[in-house]
Symmetry: C2
Subunit: 350 residues, 2 copies
Amino acid sequence: MKRFLVGSTLSWLLIASVQALEPLPTSVPVPADNPMTVDKIELGKSLYFDPRLSIDGTISCNSCHNVMTNGTDNRSVSVGVRGQHGGRSSPTVYNAAFLSSQFWDGRASTLEEQAKGPILNPIEMGMPSAQAVVDRLKGVPDYVSWFQHVFGGQGETAVTYTHVAQAIAAYERTLVTPNSPFVCYWYGDHQALSASAQRGMQKVTSLGCTSCHMGPNFSGPAGMPMGQGFFMKFPTFDQSKLALPYIQRYHLMDDKGRFSVTHQPGDLHMWRVPTWRNIALTAPYFHNGSVATLDEAVRVMAATQLNKTLSDAEVADIVAFLDSLTGVFPQQTMPRLPETPHHTVVGDAH
Amino acid sequence: MKRFLVGSTLSWLLIASVQALEPLPTSVPVPADNPMTVDKIELGKSLYFDPRLSIDGTISCNSCHNVMTNGTDNRSVSVGVRGQHGGRSSPTVYNAAFLSSQFWDGRASTLEEQAKGPILNPIEMGMPSAQAVVDRLKGVPDYVSWFQHVFGGQGETAVTYTHVAQAIAAYERTLVTPNSPFVCYWYGDHQALSASAQRGMQKVTSLGCTSCHMGPNFSGPAGMPMGQGFFMKFPTFDQSKLALPYIQRYHLMDDKGRFSVTHQPGDLHMWRVPTWRNIALTAPYFHNGSVATLDEAVRVMAATQLNKTLSDAEVADIVAFLDSLTGVFPQQTMPRLPETPHHTVVGDAH
């Protein structure tokens, strides 16, 4: 995985004005080695909702990335097994398929790679090893036959940790939210945005917010190779008199960001640029979930990234525009998780 | 609520032989003051899945009574907010509509009354008061209009704790599992049960298991008034040489059962008779979830309730019959939980 360097970011900035605002593509990027099939998506959905992927059978992917709401848990930081609190706020799973890297620090290139993380994280789902996950699933006969059906292979050999991640990723690629009011506007329905939202749209462009929040997911340039990632320093103006009160109040520099992964000085406080899609619904805000409301998040961004103070009217206009990026969430059927008749695979686990 | 006394149980035993085995009724009992409507059921489903009914936004009704599987969490005891462990195993929500009292100790007469319990239980969902639940929901504008639509009333007055419970109960009354193999057999398809299951059916009748596990839900006589409850002492043979090793190994008398509610000596170790429907799927077994497998649960019951030891073949036949009581679970759509744009109602809660 090659990090998208700050230097090369500049060339993107030049073309940002023309491609900053655009609708979601009609299809998601799909890796060649993990084609989407109906059966794989259904298996992935079952795994996504299955708390047996956690050590004590209490936490599923959906616990922190709740697809019945906005793909987050609306908490500052999430709660994993044994009541443990994570260090960062759960990003939304919706439209994550359009990100060119995953996690706040971009440490996973793909949804497949991302899916393998929380299951084994001791403070999230707490499984001790990939093998333990595979063994757990091999103890559920209908999963074994389901993996066989989807991935082929003899008997239990179809159940691998990579296949678990591939199925979950295939499901996650269905979690997109097209048809926002903004898109209707973009396609020519000028009634779709209020006057305030239209002013906000102009404002985010003229201020330069869309230098980073551009592209189909408002999280970076379109067409970036999977794994390249699009990062920005946050806070950028870390010595500014405007920014410092926010930095202190919201502990914005306690976490070293991407530096914790790469240990490269240039990655200190670098973060994957998060999506604006459905941002109105995914409070609280920022990597540590420290900012409770969207209007305050806009003020924080103006101060820390632009060294500017916005008027209340400007903030309201930008929030109105961000509201217009809330899309239509897919209607879904509930999965039915495969059973283990006569016994449990999690009953004694703590 | 009047407890169904052991004395009056005897008259039921006399008629048990004719009514012991029967299919689920085609409709559930519905209290006159909580008629079911499509909109109420949908509201109840949303509330059932909404973790915002817990103090920190992590636990919903579905966390412990998972309708995507068998209506339980397949754990010995459940995990509530802050990683706290409960003292009893979560009973299945499926077919709970047919029980004449709720909770292991029957302390709630109705599903409505039951629904009010876990939300306020400090080790389950941990909300501090009914008013706190109402205030939380009043903070979600689409819930306010949804309650108004379903229950009438002006503005926020439609949101009451009783209405929360009524909506959840209405949804739960849709969670029934008809069309088990046993029912097909009962209606005349003699191929629906294996020879082993048919022997098991004879055995549970001849042994007397169906003296308690009778009626439409195999949990007590049909037509008992809501709230009356059908209780039995467990272990009954608490001094028997056959039972004592099980009682000790599985801590079957650590919990005083219904006595903890009524403080009446006659209620010591009395328990609501649990359903046999889908019992093959709801391991681990008994009020403390201490018994891992269904065959062992059958042996425990033979020893503690009948003072008998069964052969392995008898156990296998009974298990085969119990397998035949697994019904068809309803296909469901996923709810979409109402959002709180720009802010969260649980972000800071711990």
